[in-house]
């Protein structure tokens, strides 16, 4: 395992800047996920770490070496691609052993390491097959195996599960997590899928518009998103947002939007002004506490274990998640309370968390 350090890196395609002044430190053995919508520069960053793209400014360090000018093969990395990128004319074993063969390792060593990696990924019976004779999930396992065989300090994953169907994606996700626990190798993983990010990562770097918006543990990102973008991007179903203003009332600060008046914790006393309020569907509670507000159910979306309920509070729409045992119908009247510790307030305009 090696640490990875990206220092003040600029990358530009022609005159179009893709990354600017980007800093990132990945600890040895850490699982870091780069999460963001397409075009945010996350794959570019990964390619730059791999050495497949030249940086126009700054340095890349892997382990304790400055590898900014090093070829990919000399960086001590292995990479897994979205489209698997298996060599079609080679068997699984040849695919996995190709890197070692080029490096001029003796055949017995190549064979042994291919076998070890294959055993780890349950690929032993497939070693003689060509990629065309494999299913999508098997292909990606072979691609992961190819990375394993190289025995390097850092694994790079470029959306490895995006081409698979939902069930396989879950299976392989678990497998990757198990692999990380087993090997302890540093892993950097690019995805646009927040579930993958939340389940796999030690830390997540949420990216947008060429910059890292927040770099924190999954829990921190989920519970205390640094800004409006992170709050909206992470979490499914998405957070409820309402633009409005904070006003100081008799019994403390409150969020106001039209008829809606939502009491807020005391920490927002001095905030004031135009804000955006956010609360996750799973944090709204049905109940009749002192702060509960009356609501009318509009629509119900059963999702198996739980149900997503769309309701209006003072004419403003909110979605909330309830257990599947809670039976509600459109038109039902309920009381909702909004626990203060789970209410997020973002400054309008800048989107910064207050």
């Amino acid at each position: 395992m090696s640490q990875v350090s990206v220092r003040k890196v600029d990358i530009a395609f022609g005159s179009v800047p893709v990354l600017e002044q980007l800093d990132l430190e990945v600890a040895p053995g850490e699982f870091l996920v780069l999460l963001g919508p397409s075009g945010c520069g996350k794959s570019t960053l990964l390619n730059a770490i791999a050495g497949l793209l030249d940086v126009s400014r700054g340095q890349v360090w892997i382990g304790d070496r400055n590898v900014t000018w090093a070829e990919p093969k000399d960086r001590g990395i292995a990479m897994v691609f979205q489209s698997y990128a298996l060599y079609p004319q080679m068997t699984v074993a040849q695919n996995m052993g190709f890197g070692l063969k080029i490096a001029g390792r003796p055949r017995e060593e190549v064979d042994r390491r291919v076998r070890e990696a294959a055993a780890m990924l349950q690929l032993t019976t497939l070693l003689g097959r060509k990629p065309a004779a494999l299913s999508g999930g098997q292909r990606q396992r072979v691609a992961i195996g190819r990375a394993l065989v190289r025995d390097v300090g850092v694994f790079l994953f470029d959306e490895p599960l995006s081409n698979l169907d939902a069930q396989l994606r879950n299976e392989l996700r678990v497998e990757i997590k198990r692999l990380h626990q087993q090997l302890g190798t540093t892993m950097i993983y690019v995805t646009h899928d927040q579930i993958e990010a939340l389940t796999l990562a030690d830390r997540i770097a949420v990216m947008k518009d060429r910059t890292i918006q927040q770099l924190a543990t999954p829990e921190e990102i989920y519970l205390r998103p640094a800004n409006r973008f992170v709050a909206g991007f992470v979490g499914s179903p998405a957070m409820n947002f309402h633009a409005g203003a904070i006003e100081a009332g008799k019994s403390g600060p409150a969020f106001r939007r039209g008829e809606l008046s939502l009491p807020l914790p005391d920490r927002f006393r001095d905030a004031g002004g135009a804000v955006e309020l956010g609360i996750r569907p799973e944090h709204i509670v049905i109940g009749t506490g002192a702060d509960a507000l009356p609501a009318a159910v509009e629509m119900v979306e059963p999702m198996g274990a739980e149900t997503l309920v769309w309701a209006r509070v003072a004419d403003e729409p909110f979605s909330l998640r309830v257990e599947h045992t809670v039976k509600l119908r459109p038109g039902d009247r309920i009381d909702l309370s909004f626990p203060g510790e789970n209410v997020h307030v973002f400054r309008a305009g800048t989107g910064k968390r207050l």
Binding site: L52, K73, A78, A85, L86, Y87, R146
Partner: protein
Amino acid sequence: MSAGAIVPEGPRPRHFGWARLGIYAFLIVAALFFLFPLYVMVLTSLKPMAEIRMGGLLAWPSDPTVEPWIKAWTSACTGLRCEGLRVGFWNSVIITIPSAVLAILLGMINGYALSFWRVPWANWMFAILMFGTFIPYQVLFYPLVRIASTLGLFGNLGGIVFVQVVFALPVMTLLFRNYYASLPEELFKAARVDGAGFWRTWFSIMLPLSGPMLVVACILKVTNTWNDYILGLIFAGRDNLPMTVQLNNMVNSTLGEREYNMEMAATLLTALVPLVIYFVSGRWFVRGIAAGAVKG
């Protein structure tokens, strides 16, 4: 619903309408139009001269003979020499094979370098190369003759191969560049991470994937070189004249009675190589053109 009504079920019935009939009629007429001369040529080449003199262009040969074919191959006069077309045939083979191999190899490497590696000024080089495909090559003959003779590549086998390769390079490069551009770039990246360099990646990864395009390039280049007349006439030199030039000499230098049967046979012999290539490789040719959907 009445008892006899047809209930729509299963595949929709096909209608053989007027439009379809028209299409077939057109195709059949077009096929006949192209097959008719071939029919006459084959028949004439199998008739003795006596029968040809009687006329009856379309008549079936009453006394078929392969004599004209043998004569065309072994003893017909192409100018001053009377050794038949076989000399030209072997000349063409000797010109075609190295030209095709070299042109395809160089075009393939060019295309590979241009599509995967970041060559400085790659786009400009490609643009210049493409410009080359649009220049009518007659314009270049005089300067090229001077260049070739300075290099000692005029009037010999090396000269004609050199010219054949140079003129084929733009198209070959274009073919392979576009083909390689259709392959997933991640394949190339994976090879780079595995430590394969320029030649290794080409030889181990890209070459084995080039099959469909190789077939297309082979067909194009071989038929092109085989059918070439003017380059062979100018650059090959007297001893290496390709089959097409010899055929022309044979047909145009007749003394006395024109031996139609022998000339037909000679023409068919010359056309045989491209014909065989198309028949054998038609399937591959289509497949190569449709290629691009190479999935890992």
